[in-house]
């Protein structure tokens, strides 16, 4: 099978100009290949580059060194050099990303937040809402909350809105930043089921999973990021 994602010699430094110019090397010469339907579980302590890796694949962090080749509509595209218009397209159709925390927008209902990725694909609003309701129900968000802004929701509820949004549309590549961190056991099971369904459908899932239970339930490779790179150097 052809890879769907190919990371080649990725390095990433952060330089903090206002903190004595300290330079932190988070990734060094990181290379890895990913296939459709494959699960990759990232582990390791804070600062070992797990979130950075996900954000670089999404091009939310810049890619100063190395290549991140993504198969987008039958072509391999390098996220490091792709034009902005192509990156928007890749984010709309090929790579989904569920951040650790929901970015809440005032006045936007939970349902609208969830279906936004579908609307961005020009899905008919009625159909999108139907799909949105379905996934909100699965994630146990009570119906009386659907039309409220998530501003006042609890942390766990917000994370479930975020997950519902991430799973509303299918993606060939799905990036999950600690998707089960703030969930009770029942909702965790639901998320596990959603992950399994995505894998079954051929999605390449790359996620940060700390819970050993998650690691046991998802059949995939476990990458300990503290072993791959992650070292701090002074400027």
């Amino acid at each position: 099978m052809d890879p769907i994602l190919h990371m080649i010699n990725i390095s990433k430094d952060f330089v903090f100009h206002h903190q004595e110019g300290i330079r932190i090397r988070v990734l060094e010469d990181f290379s890895m290949t990913f296939f459709p339907g494959q699960a990759t579980l990232l582990t390791g302590p804070s600062g070992s580059g797990k979130s950075t890796l996900l954000r670089m694949i999404y091009a939310g962090y810049r890619i100063p060194k190395g290549n991140i080749l993504v198969r987008h509509q039958h072509e391999m595209v390098d996220m490091a050099t792709a034009l902005p218009s192509l990156v928007y397209d890749i984010r709309r159709y090929t790579i989904g990303y569920v951040s650790q925390f929901l970015r809440v927008i005032p006045r936007v209902s939970a349902l609208d937040t969830v279906i936004e990725p579908l609307i961005a694909r020009r899905m008919e609003p009625r159909k999108a809402e139907q799909r949105g309701r379905q996934i909100l129900e699965r994630l146990n968000i009570p119906e009386n909350l659907w039309h409220l802004s998530a501003t006042t929701f609890s942390g766990g509820e917000q994370q479930r809105i975020n997950l519902a949004r991430g799973f509303a549309a299918p993606y060939p590549i799905l990036l999950l930043d600690e998707p089960t961190a703030s969930l009770d056991p029942e909702n965790r099971n639901t998320v596990m089921a959603l992950v399994h369904e995505a894998l079954q459908a051929g999605t390449c899932v790359i996620g940060i999973f700390h819970n050993p239970l998650d690691q046991k339930e998802i059949a995939g490779r476990i990458i300990d990021m503290s072993l791959t790179s992650g070292r701090q150097t002074e400027a």
């Binding site: 952060f14 330089v15 903090f16 100009h17 206002h18 954000r55 091009a59 939310g60 962090y61 810049r62 509509q73 034009l83 902005p84 218009s85 192509l86 990156v87 928007y88 397209d89 709309r92 159709y93 927008i105 005032p106 006045r107 936007v108 609307i119 961005a120």
Partner: protein
């Protein structure tokens, strides 16, 4: 499938400079805007953001450089277009939303008149049709249609800004330029304006340049950001790259200075 900006750009700014005597307004600015793309220009007061925007809008004459615009009359350098044609293009194919609605609205004619005036300026004559379109636009920007015949001076600041946006969008311009549209408004009023704008951007596939010092507003609406300081662009990139992975010292300072409630 074509995303925004894959064809010819809608706008290509090249080496644009504006000097006020010896003072730099903006210096050697170059960038492109694709169709359906929203670019945010951020930076502190006095960084040259508004000067840049006014040069693009033809409201200020640039000292040097070009502003190529994909108009209905072809790909023209607005800095070198004959005055009559320039006025025509600016009027019918661009929109400009100002920070103070007093500058962007006619306070002595009704809300409906402010919208209708643009339609008439572009040749529409049928009174009933003009009123119908004006009413639809008031609804779109969440202004009670009962206020249609009231003067904008009787409106709140947030309503005035929403009216200004409606008056600019009614002629379906190819590009919208916005200069600090949310500043000076209470946060709750701001949230409503942002919501209206967000829906318009998504629903109408607007092409827009948004000047703002508010990074939250910039993130919410813009695909890409340009950071300006002392008249120059110091950093540019996708909005999340600029705000989550700022590289330049000035951008890092700007991003780390926001209080997160």
């Amino acid at each position: 499938m074509t995303g925004p900006g894959q064809e010819m750009p809608l706008l290509r700014v090249m080496n644009l400079s504006k000097f006020y005597g010896k003072t730099v307004g903006c210096h050697e600015i170059s960038f492109e805007l694709g169709k359906g793309e929203v670019i945010g220009i951020v930076g502190e007061s006095g960084s040259g953001k508004s000067t840049l925007l006014e040069c693009i809008a033809g409201r200020l004459g640039a000292t040097n450089g070009s502003v190529f615009f994909n108009s209905s009359h072809g790909f023209l350098d607005l800095c070198r277009t004959d005055e009559v044609l320039l006025r025509k293009i600016i009027r019918s194919e661009t929109g400009f939303v100002t920070q103070n609605s007093v500058d962007g609205l006619r306070m002595t004619i009704s809300a409906g008149g402010n919208i209708g005036e643009r339609l008439m300026a572009n040749g529409m004559r049928h009174y009933g049709q003009i009123r119908k379109i004006a009413r639809q636009w008031l609804e779109t920007v969440e202004i009670d249609v009962k206020r249609m015949d009231d003067l904008p001076s009787t409106f709140s600041g947030g309503m005035q800004q929403r009216l200004q946006i409606a008056a600019n969008l009614v002629t379906d311009p190819r590009i919208i330029l916005m200069d600090e549209p949310t500043s000076g408004l209470d946060v709750s009023v701001q949230a409503r304006l942002m919501d209206v704008l967000r829906k318009l951007v998504a629903g109408l596939n607007l092409s827009m340049i948004l000047v703002t010092h508010d990074l939250a507003v910039a993130r919410l609406l813009s695909h890409r950001l340009y950071v300006m300081k002392d008249g120059r662009i110091v950093e540019s990139g996708l909005s999340d790259q600029i705000l989550d992975d700022p590289r330049e010292p000035y951008t890092q300072l700007l991003v780390s200075s926001i209080l997160k409630p």
